[in-house]
Symmetry: C2
Subunit: 216 residues, 2 copies
C-alpha cells in the first residue's frame, strides 16, 4: 500500500519526540488521512494495536519497515548526472535507512570520472557490469527523454526489476518490472488545472481556438 511510507514517516517523528503509544486518530491526523482508513491499512499487516490503548510506536515502526522491505539493504544506481541526477545523488533521503547509493552512471566524457557524493561516475558502456557487480536492484533514471527507453532496456536486461523514472516518457517494460514515474512538469500542469478551476474554468468558446490558429 502506497500510504505505508507516509505512516512510517509520521511514526519516526513521534518516536523522536519520545511518544511511546499512539491512537489511530492521532496518527491518521499526522499522516493526513481518515482514521478508519489508517486502521484498515494497518490491520492488513496484522493485528498490531491494543484496543483501548492504541499502537506502540516502536513496534509499529518495525512492522511497517519490515513490510516495506526496509529491514534489508537495497543497492541503488543513478543513471544520468545532469542537474537532477546530481541533486538526487546528494539527497539525504536516499541514503537513509534501507537504501544505499551504489553507483552513478553517465554517457558524457566530461561527467564520467567526476566524484559526486563520494562516488566516481562510471561510463554507461559499463552499465551491465556495474549493475551486476554491485547487486543493484533499483535504478533511478535521470536521463534525457530520448535516452530513457534504451537505457531502461539495458538496466532491465542486466537484472534490475524496479525503476524510478524522471524522464518525461512512458517506459515499456516486461511483466515483473515495476516502474514509478516522477514527472515535474505533469505535477505543474495538474496544479495549473486546479488553479484555473478556482479562477472560473476555461472560457469555453470556439472563437478562442480559431484565433489561436489564425495567430500562427
Amino acid at each position: 500500500m502506497a500510504r505505508l511510507p507516509v505512516y512510517l514517516r509520521a511514526l519516526h517523528v513521534l518516536a523522536e519526540r519520545g511518544v511511546a503509544t499512539v491512537s489511530s486518530e492521532e496518527l491518521a491526523a499526522a499522516a493526513g488521512v481518515n482514521s478508519a482508513k489508517l486502521r484498515k491499512d494497518l490491520s492488513h499487516l496484522g493485528s498490531y494495536g491494543t484496543r483501548g490503548v492504541g499502537y506502540e510506536v516502536e513496534y509499529l515502526v518495525y512492522q511497517i519497515s519490515r513490510e516495506l522491505g526496509l529491514t534489508q539493504d537495497w543497492a541503488v544506481a543513478i543513471v544520468g548526472l545532469g542537474n537532477l541526477g546530481r541533486a538526487l545523488a546528494g539527497y539525504g533521503g536516499f541514503a537513509s535507512r534501507g537504501f544505499r547509493m551504489a553507483a552513478l552512471l553517465d554517457a558524457q566524457p566530461g561527467i564520467v570520472g567526476e566524484v559526486i557524493a563520494d562516488l566516481t561516475v562510471e561510463h554507461i558502456d559499463d552499465l551491465e557490469t556495474v549493475i551486476k557487480d554491485n547487486g543493484i536492484s533499483i535504478a533511478v533514471l535521470a536521463v534525457p527523454a530520448a535516452a530513457a527507453q534504451p537505457v531502461c532496456d539495458r538496466v532491465v536486461a542486466s537484472g534490475v526489476t524496479s525503476i524510478l523514472n524522471f524522464a518525461p516518457v512512458v517506459l515499456s517494460v516486461p511483466d515483473g518490472v515495476d516502474v514509478r514515474k516522477v514527472d515535474l512538469s505533469i505535477e505543474l500542469q495538474i496544479l495549473a488545472f486546479h488553479e484555473q478551476r478556482k479562477a472560473g474554468g476555461p472560457s469555453g468558446v470556439e472563437e478562442e481556438y480559431l484565433e489561436a490558429v489564425e495567430g500562427q
Copy 2:
C-alpha cells in the same frame, strides 16, 4: 483529471511526427492506458472525436491545453535553492508552455544574490513582496523539512493557492489551496516494497523483531 497531461505529451509527440489523426486505441497505447478510459476522459471535455475516424491531433492538443489552463501563463516561484531547487530552476520542462519561472527565493546569505537560470535569488524576507509584485500563483517548495510549514504559511498568506512540495512533510493548508507532493524517498520505499514482494515477501517471524531490538 490527472491523466490529461500524459495524453497531451503523447499528442505532442504525434504532432511532431506529422500525424494528423489518431484513434483512441493508438493514443491509449502511447499513453499507457486502456482505450475505454481514454475515450471516457476525453468525452468528459466535450465531443472532440469523429466516429469511424478518430481524433484530430492538433485540435485535441488545443482542447486539452485549454482545459488544463495552459493557454494562459502561470508565474512560478521556487523557494529553496539547494541542490534540488537548482535542478528545478534549470529544468527545461518548467519553462515550457504555460509556465514562467518568475522568482527564486532562499534564506542563506551565500545563496541570496546568486544568479541561477537568469534570475537573481532574492531573500526570503521579501517573500510577500516578491510574490505579489510578480503575480505568482504557484510556489515550488524545495526547502528543508523543518522550514516547509512556516514557508508554506507565508506563501499562502501572500496569495499563492497552488503548491508543489518537495519537502518530506504533510503540509496543512486552508481550504481552497492545492498541494501536490513529490517525495523521492517515498517513491523508493514503494519500489522496495514491490521488490521485496518479488523476492518472497517479509519473512514474517517474530524473532526478527526481537533480534533487531536486542541488537541496539
